[in-house]
């Protein structure tokens, strides 16, 4: 088994646990961590699968570099909103359904 394939499979597991965390966790910081785990999983699949024969693939690596930057942008925005919510409601969770309109 090449490192590419191995890390692609790891990436699949990370992606799935990230999705589960993103949906199920209630604390917003945990949701944000889960989103990052999900993203890292997708990146590993992208590079890992492309390199499963063992050759480095600069195209997928450049794509993931783009992806990492997009991820940090989204993380910062999510944290800013979560902290504003904390300032407003005193909690880093979503208000109960139907109360935020």
């Amino acid at each position: 088994m090449t490192p590419g394939l191995l890390f692609a499979l790891t990436g699949i597991a990370l992606f799935s646990s990230g999705v589960a965390g993103l949906i199920l966790q209630t604390h917003l910081l945990r949701k944000i961590i889960a989103f990052n785990v999900m993203g890292s999983g997708a990146f590993l699949v992208l590079v890992g699968l492309a390199q499963r024969s063992g050759e480095p693939d600069p195209v997928s690596q450049a794509m993931v570099l783009t992806g990492i930057v997009v991820s940090i942008a989204a993380t910062a925005l999510a944290l800013a909103l979560a902290r504003r919510l904390l300032n407003l409601t005193g909690e880093m969770r979503f208000p109960a359904e139907g109360q935020d309109d």
Binding site: L14, H27, L29, R30, V37, V47, Q61, I72, R83, N87
Partner: protein, 84 residues
């Protein structure tokens, strides 16, 4: 052979760190585990012949994201102290 064993260990550590980051009850520790996860990701990129990604992951994925999360945990705790 040794390389494969190392990769397997690395993959297992990645999964473990991610699991801990997602489930640890204490938020501070969860963020620490997330940074460990980021550093392990950097190692994985190095193993995948992607030094650019290893650098970027260490600086941005673990470093900057970690700093942002730490700062937010600090903010959360300060907030908790200011109102009992």
């Amino acid at each position: 052979m040794i390389a494969l064993a190392f990769d397997l260990l690395l993959a297992a550590s990645l999964l473990w760190a991610a699991f801990r980051a997602l489930t640890t009850l204490d938020l501070f520790r969860a963020v620490v585990m997330f940074i460990v996860f980021g550093l392990l990701m950097a190692l994985a990129w190095a193993r995948l012949d992607a030094p650019d990604l290893a650098l970027a992951e260490a600086a941005i994925g673990a470093g900057l994201a970690g700093a942002l999360l730490f700062d937010s945990v600090g903010h959360l705790r300060a907030r908790g102290r200011s109102r009992p």
